[in-house]
């Protein structure tokens, strides 16, 4: 028996609409992320897709989505193949679990989860990529990650309003 408190207002996004949203996010990750970059900060459309998928279908689906979308991101990055898959699997699971346990389901909470999740993902990715070098980690993390997380949350909010209608 679980102690989690189920949300009072469960997500009602249809799989078809979410699939469309994922396709848009994948295309945007390939085409729009570089043009939309401001300094070192860039929106992470793949993580946006993962977050709303995990928040909609919870931990198990979040983990599977995270693995698939992480492989996609790894294929785009072309280094440390499997690192994004690992990080996003964990985060997909975590985001799904948070939805299962958190009572609040407001858009603001979703955006906070999105920004926080992106920040955690950057910690995982940059930490692993830095291979234990604190200088290498802080050189990127403190300059890019908070802004990228905020940027991703803003873009994610817009995408959610445009595609998911919530």
């Amino acid at each position: 028996m679980t102690n989690s408190i189920r949300p009072s207002n469960p997500q009602t996004v249809s799989p078809q609409r979410y699939a469309t949203f994922v396709v848009f996010c994948l295309l945007a990750a390939m085409v729009l992320e570089d043009p939309l970059a401001i300094g070192g900060a860039r929106p992470d459309f793949v993580f946006v897709a993962l977050t709303y998928g995990a928040l909609t279908w919870h931990a198990q689906a979040g983990a599977l989505l995270g693995f698939g979308l992480g492989l996609f991101r790894d294929a785009l990055v072309l280094s440390h193949f499997g690192l994004h898959a690992l990080g996003m699997t964990v985060l997909g699971y975590g985001l799904g679990k948070s939805r299962e346990t958190l009572y609040l389901t407001t858009p603001g909470v979703d955006l906070a989860l999105l920004a926080g999740g992106k920040l955690v993902l950057d910690v995982l990715i940059l930490g692993a990529a830095a291979s234990g070098s604190w200088e290498a980690f802080e050189a990127r993390f403190f300059w890019e990650s908070p802004l990228s997380a905020a940027y991703t949350a803003i873009i994610g909010g817009l995408c959610r309003r445009l595609f998911l209608g919530r």
């Binding site: 390939m30 693995f67 193949f81 690192l83 690992l86 699997t89």
Partner: protein, 310 residues
């Protein structure tokens, strides 16, 4: 019995996925790189194809626009060069003509005309300041255009040979005879030559001004006979249809024939002009086909000029 309880499936999935990720991460760099590139190729292929097609379309569109612009410019240049070439030929002919005619000519450009089907008047940019006066003949290197009817300081109004009030004393140059008559405008830009009934004329006979009447000197080409017919109303005269030598529709520059500027100081009955392709019309008492007397030092006989024998 299920392998895992339902509330542990998520954990099992995340562990499996994480394990798979770790396996991928543990692969040798070269294997990892080739795997990443393969997946990257599969993932980005549709987008790169679309991007190629789109960028190709944009490039072709830009190239098409540039080529269209270049074609337009080339057409304009070609058109300009054609116009310039035509103007050059026309002005060269006029200059050559002015150099060879033994009278003073004032060149003028056509600056306005009526745009009726058959124009009857036009304005030229030579006027009183150029010593142009009313009544002076207006010609081109091809022949008679009309005469000046009113003069302003810098412009003059020219009555064209198509004007209903226009008439000129004319001389028909037959094969072995001359006929005198009057040229008047007919319908649709043509002329008609009124001759006595006994007169002989044939299609192709040339018509020049006769020099009688005091306006036009003798020898300005007017046109060629195209047909002869009898006056249907009275039967008292012969009417020849005349095709004018000057096309008024394409006229851009003319000459005003200045009075009293010929070498002998006259521009009346006793002045005979040599026109390219035309013989000096013989004066009264002279035999047609005989050697014409030259007016001015540079005049030549018709036979010497163009082999035309009259």
């Amino acid at each position: 019995m299920p392998l895992l309880p339902p509330d542990r499936r998520a954990e099992a999935v995340v562990i499996a996925c994480a394990a798979a990720s770790l396996v991928l991460l543990a692969l040798p760099d070269s294997r990892q790189d080739s795997l990443a590139r393969s997946v990257n190729h599969v993932v980005t292929l549709p987008v790169s194809r679309v991007r190629e097609v789109f960028s190709g379309y944009l490039r072709l569109r830009t190239e098409n626009a540039n080529l269209r612009r270049q074609l337009q410019e080339a057409r304009i240049e070609l058109s300009d060069s054609d116009i310039v070439r035509a103007q050059n030929q026309e002005l060269s002919a006029l200059l050559d003509f002015a150099d060879h005619l033994p009278v003073h000519l004032t060149a003028a450009r056509v600056i306005s005309r009526d745009f009726a089907t058959t124009p009857s008047v036009m304005i030229v940019d030579a006027g009183g300041t150029d010593n142009v006066t009313a009544g002076l003949p207006v010609v081109t290197d091809e022949g008679l255009v009309g005469k000046v009817v009113s003069v302003g300081p810098g412009t003059s109004e020219v009555m064209l040979y198509t004007h209903p009030d226009f008439s000129a004393s004319a001389l028909l140059l037959g094969g072995d005879h001359l006929e005198y008559g009057i040229v008047r405008p007919s319908a649709v830009g043509r002329l008609q030559l009124l001759l006595p009934l006994r007169a002989r004329s044939e299609p192709g006979d040339r018509i020049v001004t006769s020099g009688y009447g005091g306006v036009f000197p003798r020898g300005i080409p007017i046109g060629q006979v195209t047909a002869s017919q009898e006056d249907q109303r009275l039967g008292l005269q012969q009417i020849d249809l005349v095709e004018p030598v000057v096309d008024l529709g394409s006229l851009t520059a003319v000459f005003v024939l200045m009075r009293g500027s010929s070498p002998d100081g006259s521009a009346g009955d006793d002045l005979r002009l040599f026109w390219p392709g035309y013989a000096h019309p013989p004066m009264a008492g002279e035999r047609l086909g005989g050697r014409a007397s030259a007016v001015g030092g540079d005049s030549v006989t018709p036979a010497e000029a163009d082999g035309d024998s009259l």
